[in-house]
């Protein structure tokens, strides 16, 4: 592989929602260099690729950021950082105004006010959101963009960030990127568990299959303190297409019903995890399948729904049309997805300060990769990107010059070249990925187990994942694309081990589905705390932290 060295002031890893917004903010506060390194192309990379339905985090008139904090803490069963939630909530509406100024369409009433859906949602054209953001980034000449380059390791010395290592996904190029300060904005992780449709359509999932947990894994390996990995996220989605359901539930008021036509949501509660729990229980009790009741809506509503889905998940509209059945003709069947790790919905991710700095000096985190601050959604990712960029601009002046371990970098390059140089291995990356997903599904609370697990099976999961990890060095790559798949598998395996360790420590069931322990089916007072972890000398050390 050819070596390329790049030096910048502010390195942003991941040109998604938080990363792009952070780059724009940084330019308002500093004239230093900023570089976004993105594994795909920024126009459509990450969660916003297909479009989103609405702005889910907005403070409407008559409400305050504190209301949002209270709501998010309640929904998370108390395990959420009030300080982080407040600083995020205070930024939400500001980010909406900025996006509107950049060209985002937002639905307005006759007085020019935003039309709200409930008190926290506003209606937008979500299909355009990423191209608008990417265009603003491309128009800002201070921002450098390196696309189709995958970051896989930090350069850290004495707990200070010095940059990151990356590889091109097209050509044999190994990048060493030095930076005074770094923002990790790589999003969350999918593909740890066996998905809803494990065959040909295995990537027809809700969370982007290309967000593979790189940021979490790099942090874990570098010894950063991480939080709440046991708080997995499972979404309630339309069967087969895994399309979002909020448009049906909140848009046309469709209720969750079981096969007998009974509305069941009131039986289980309405927090995010309870809604999925209800569906899982109804199925387990023989009352399934479950649906969103759309029959009886008007033809005009049918047409608007088809358009709304084209703006975020076109496959759902395709399904209605292919089947010749409108939502008014047939209820929409729903199911829970496989578990994801997503700090924008739950509290999993880096343990950070209010300035979004991680426990590694000079390394910041924002968006789905940052922990402690659930219910972030798009605008929360923007708000965190803003906070991190402002703090990073200040931090640049304080960064110390530390000598880099050149030998370590050269060894890493040789290790990668080993995969490329090896003759075709009998062990296939995809096969190991399937083994990992099956082990997580069966022993760490996947779909087939109705999301529940116990101590014994978690220990089995850990053994199996460690076994798969041991086979990793035997893999071979014919090209850079295949090398990328090996790196993605490696980061998923690293993350799986942390998820299992966290699930094992939280010996209670605080959130159904997200962390369902069948050996500890109730909440326990002693677990009113954060479960954090840190890799010390190759061992994962678990730390309980008091609520903040």
């Amino acid at each position: 592989m050819e070596s390329k060295i790049i030096t910048t002031d502010f390195l942003i890893i991941g040109g998604g929602t938080a990363g792009c917004y952070a780059a724009l903010t940084f330019c308002e506060h500093s004239d230093k260099k900023v570089l976004i390194v993105e594994k795909a192309g920024i126009k459509r990379s990450g969660c916003l690729a297909a479009g989103v339905n609405a702005i889910n985090a907005y403070i409407s008139a008559g409400h305050s950021p504190q209301d949002y904090v209270d709501y998010a803490v309640r929904d998370a069963g108390g395990i959420a950082r009030r300080d982080l939630l407040l600083s995020m909530s205070e930024g939400l509406n500001r980010t909406v105004r900025k996006l509107e100024a950049l060209g985002l369409t937002i639905l307005k009433d006759e007085n020019g006010g935003y039309v709200t859906r409930g008190w926290r949602n506003i209606k937008i054209n979500g299909e355009r959101i990423k191209p608008i953001l990417a265009e603003a980034v491309k128009n800002q000449s201070q921002i450098g963009i390196l696309e189709r380059v995958n970051v896989f390791e930090y350069i850290v010395k004495d707990n200070q960030i010095l940059g990151a290592l990356a590889v091109s996904i097209d050509e044999p190029i190994f990048y060493t990127i030095y930076a005074k300060t770094v923002l990790c904005a790589t999003g969350g992780a999918s593909g740890l568990y066996k998905p809803n449709n494990p065959g040909f359509s295995r990537h027809k999932m809700w969370y982007p299959p290309f967000n593979t947990g790189a940021g979490y894994a790099m942090g874990i390996r570098a010894g950063a303190e991480m939080t709440s990995f046991e708080m997995r996220f499972v979404a309630l989605r339309c069967k087969d297409t895994i399309a979002p359901t909020g448009t049906l539930a909140q848009g046309v008021g469709a209720k969750q019903i079981n096969a007998k036509g009974e509305v069941y949501e009131s039986k289980y509660g309405v927090t995010t995890s309870q809604r999925i729990y209800g569906t899982v229980r109804e199925n387990a009790d023989g009352n399934g399948p479950c649906y969103l009741k759309t029959t009886g809506i008007t033809p005009a509503q049918d047409e608007e729904l088809k358009k709304a889905y084209l703006n975020m998940c076109p496959s759902q509209t395709l399904k209605w049309i292919e089947n010749g059945k409108n939502p008014s003709d047939e209820n929409v069947e729903i199911e829970g997805t496989e578990p994801y790790i997503v700090g924008g919905h739950t509290a999993s991710g880096y343990w950070i300060g209010n300035d979004r700095q991680t426990t590694i000096s000079g390394l910041f985190a924002a968006g789905d990769v940052a922990g402690g601050c659930p219910q972030k959604y798009v605008t929360g990712a923007f708000a965190e990107g803003e906070l991190a960029a402002i703090a990073a601009a200040e931090h640049i002046g304080q960064a110390r010059a530390v000598p880099v371990d050149q030998m370590g970098i050269a060894n890493t390059k040789r290790w990668l070249e080993g995969f490329l140089g090896r003759s075709q291995s009998d062990i296939i990356t995809d096969t190991l990925e399937d083994e990992m997903q099956s082990a997580m599904d069966r022993y760490a609370g996947g779909i087939s187990q109705n999301y529940s697990c116990d101590e014994e099976c978690l220990q089995t999961a850990l053994q199996k994942i460690s076994g798969i990890e041991r086979k990793l060095p035997l893999l071979s790559a014919n090209n850079m694309r295949e090398l990328l798949y090996i790196l993605e598998l490696r980061e998923r395996l690293t993350l799986c081990k942390s998820v299992i360790a966290h699930l094992s420590v939280r010996k209670e069931t605080r959130w159904h589905i997200f962390a369902e322990r069948r050996d500890y089916p109730d909440k326990r007072k002693e677990f009113e705390c954060f479960i954090n972890s840190r890799l010390v000398g190759g061992e994962l050390e678990v730390i309980k932290r008091e609520l903040i």
Partner: protein, 102 residues
């Protein structure tokens, strides 16, 4: 979930390859997808193609019935065309300047 290319239409402009969030598309003579099972189904490539050479379809394992979806942009309008397996087709037009009603 995946995409199919109509090679005879493709003008090798590489626009689809540049936007795929999984960088799954390669363009030599014409565009192709080496690992169709890795497709997320986000339709970014479909919307980007200037000659409607890319059709989105639902895999049989998720109940797909052979329909294909292409998109054509005309100023701020996006015309989605769904060709069904029985030979009929349906078009839905979305104005990119409009907000969702729901």
């Amino acid at each position: 979930m995946s995409i199919l290319f109509e090679s005879t239409r493709c003008i090798s402009c590489k626009k689809c390859a540049a936007v795929c969030p999984g960088s799954l598309i390669t363009v030599d003579e014409t565009a192709r997808i080496e690992h169709p099972e890795r497709c997320w189904g986000c339709a970014s490539c479909v919307k980007e193609c200037p000659v409607q050479a890319i059709g989105l379809y639902l895999g049989e394992d998720v109940g797909g019935k052979g329909g294909r979806m292409t998109a054509r942009q005309e100023s701020t309008l996006l015309h989605w065309q769904i060709a069904k397996s029985d030979g009929t087709s349906e078009t839905i037009t979305v104005d990119l300047k409009d907000s969702n009603k729901y």
